[in-house]
């Protein structure tokens, strides 16, 4: 065997092992979700059933958890995206000597373990409750939204920042020269330019919030979210109903991911078309200028 063939064999083996590892858990959940035994079991496949899916609908605790997760996810989007956008805009304007410190502080939540963010949020608001009487803010929903937003805002900022770095400040100058006011420039030039990034940041924020466990489990206090309910269930014992839930989540997110990807491609195509039109116009202008001389 030539060395090339050995290489290909090794590469093939690596791919099989890697993607086996990656998809193994999903396949296992997929099989157990449709298998009849009470304990999640892959072999032998005793019979096809949909009863585990039916069981989910009647599970009020789980439904409550999902509903809370969705509410908190929406709350996190409403907090994180405006903050992330503002932080990205400020990043391009902040005083240059303060930029290093500013950057260090705003990315620090990404590098802090989630449990610590949850703990510090709870302690801080507990302190405010005791010392300033801010009782209304000391509840699981608010604390979870804040705790999660601490680091999700940083994700949103990084997403916005990467788009903002491609923003041509001349556009803003041009608008100002043509008599636009600052709020007009912001609403009609900057925000339309940032729209794809804002959209991506919102999706990313919602999903990060929806699947977060580490911060949530500390900050949620007596309430429940999907992840905390699931963690309790999985620790108590396993039932195929959890596999069924996983299947539903995969299906929903897959549809969401495909829709997101399609939207992104459409946006990219629009961008490309706009560029093509601009390039054609430019060529035309050049040609006329050339013809005039």
């Amino acid at each position: 065997m030539s060395s090339r063939a050995i290489w290909n064999l090794m590469l093939g083996f690596y791919f099989v092992v890697f993607f086996g590892y990656l998809f193994g858990p999903l396949i296992v959940m997929g099989v157990t979700a449709f298998n009849t035994p009470n304990y999640p079991q892959v072999f032998p496949f005793e019979g096809f059933t949909l009863s585990w899916f039916a069981k989910l609908g009647g599970d009020t605790e789980l439904m409550e958890g999902i509903w809370n997760s969705v509410l908190i996810g929406i709350g996190v989007v409403c907090v994180s995206v405006p903050i992330g956008l503002a932080a990205a805009i400020v990043m391009t304007q902040v005083y240059h000597r303060a930029r290093g410190l500013y950057y260090l502080i705003v990315v620090s939540p990404v590098l802090t373990p989630g449990v610590i963010l949850g703990i510090s949020t709870v302690i801080f608001w507990r302190g405010l409750k005791d010392s300033a009487g801010l009782d209304a803010f000391y509840n699981g929903y608010w604390l979870t939204i804040l705790g999660q937003s601490t680091f999700i805002s940083a994700y949103a900022m990084l997403v916005c920042l990467s788009r903002l770095q491609r923003f041509d400040r001349a556009q803003e100058e041009a608008a100002l020269d043509l008599g636009a006011s600052y709020p007009q420039v912001f609403w009609h030039v900057l925000i339309p330019f940032m729209r794809p990034a804002i959209f991506s940041a919102a999706i990313l924020s919602f999903l990060s919030s929806f699947e977060n466990y580490n911060t949530t489990t500390f900050a949620i206090l007596a309430e429940k979210t999907l992840t905390t309910v699931l963690a309790g269930r999985v620790r108590q014992g396993t039932t195929p109903a959890i596999s069924a839930l996983a299947m539903i989540i995969i299906a929903v997110t897959l549809v969401g991911a495909i829709a997101f990807e399609l939207a992104r491609r459409r946006e990219a195509r629009k961008d490309a078309e706009a560029k093509a039109v601009a390039a054609r116009a430019e060529r035309l202008a050049e040609a006329t200028a050339l013809a005039a001389t």
Binding site: F18, L22, P25, M29, S120, T150, S153, P183, A231, A257
Partner: protein
């Protein structure tokens, strides 16, 4: 008296720093004497400026800085009923940290402890009369195991990241990316659950291995922590893969060709051409994976064997089982310090700065 002073200084510090930088920027603009230079408010207009300031002020001060400061401050207090904090019984104390080390709130370091450390280094068991062995062991185990998970993840991800970045054609690359991302739409609890099905004594892996005749008795993967390591590596695979891919992707393939033409063996190319170039990506992946596995809660809770005590479940118990919040804060602070030290070490070893690794 001194307490109020410390507290005031602590909580005034962020505002003072902001004010100082603001004043410096105003002064610099004045001195520069550049008529086109605009202040923050002139540049954005009043309404937008207010939005920007309120948004990042709320985030930085009320969500990032003050909660962390309060947590650290809180860890230096004794355990009291909540109404007594700020009252006459409240005072600064390091009892939570003493408890972490010695297992009692009034422990202190003595010559006996030094001797016990010496004996432990020579292979003796940890002396639980002197030290808080359970917690110390869990802490050390968490750090060591997280480093192990980080290295494991690097080894798993590097070949594929290299393949995607330098070898794969565009169509193949798209497919691989999609295949990588799909499993991560499922949350970590469900993933850990899947691993319990795979690795349990009656699980899939045991069935397969017995079926193949490799083993006769089911092997306890969960007890041996194999399941936990597999689950942890799996959970943070993408956070290693994408930084690596991004870093290697920008390497000019001609450099690799040149090295090959000059007769470098394949491992030379990786060790001396690709890896030095991909340093920021490696550093970024390593810090993220380390930090997340050291702070992981779900995988150790669900997949941890009976003998493995991860540090974060202990942290959780300090809060919601023992209801000792100062102690929980102290433990959280210790974990945070460990992560900071690790990040700094990685930055030093790889000689990169923070801006490069968080891109």
């Amino acid at each position: 008296m001194i307490e109020t002073l410390v507290k005031t200084l602590l909580f005034a510090a962020p505002f003072v720093i902001i004010a100082v930088f603001w004043a410096m920027s105003v002064r610099e603009r004045r001195l520069a004497n550049d008529p086109t230079a605009k202040s923050f408010f002139e540049r954005n207009g009043v309404a937008i400026s207010l939005y920007l300031l309120v948004a990042i002020g709320f985030w930085i001060v009320l969500m990032i800085v003050l909660p962390q400061l309060v947590m650290v401050d809180f860890s230096f207090h004794p355990k009291l009923p909540f109404k007594d904090y700020g009252g006459p019984k409240d005072h600064y104390s390091i009892e939570s940290y003493r408890y972490f080390l010695f297992g009692k709130t009034d422990g202190a370091f003595t010559i006996d402890h030094l001797a016990a450390i010496g004996r432990a280094l020579l292979g003796d068991e940890c002396n639980s009369g002197l030290f808080n062995c359970t917690h110390l062991r869990a802490f050390v185990l968490t750090i060591v195991a997280s480093i192990f998970v980080t290295l494991l993840n690097f080894c798993i991800c590097y070949p594929l990241a290299y393949y995607m970045a330098q070898v794969a054609a565009m169509e193949r690359l798209r497919l691989l990316m999609l295949m990588l991302i799909v499993p991560f739409w499922v949350n970590e609890i469900l993933r850990a659950f899947a691993f319990t099905i795979i690795f349990g004594t009656g699980g899939v892996l045991n069935d397969i291995m017995i079926g193949l005749g490799l083993i006769t008795e089911p092997f306890d993967f969960i007890g041996a922590d194999v399941a936990m390591y597999a689950g942890l590596s799996y959970a943070y695979l993408l956070l290693m893969m994408f930084p690596l891919y991004n870093a290697i992707e920008s390497l000019d393939h001609n450099q690799i060709e040149a090295a090959r033409d000059l007769g470098a063996p394949w491992w030379h190319i990786h060790l001396f051409v690709v890896m030095p170039y991909a340093k920021p990506g490696i550093a970024s992946g390593c810090t993220m994976v380390f930090m997340l596995s050291a702070g992981a809660l779900a995988a150790p809770l669900i997949l941890g064997g009976p003998n493995s005590l991860w540090f974060t479940p202990i942290l959780y118990d300090r809060f919601y089982q023992a209801f000792n919040w100062p102690q929980g804060s102290a433990y959280a602070f210790i974990l945070l310090l460990a992560c900071v030290v690790f990040v700094m070490l990685v930055l030093k070893v790889f000689k990169v700065n923070l801006g490069e690794i968080t891109r």
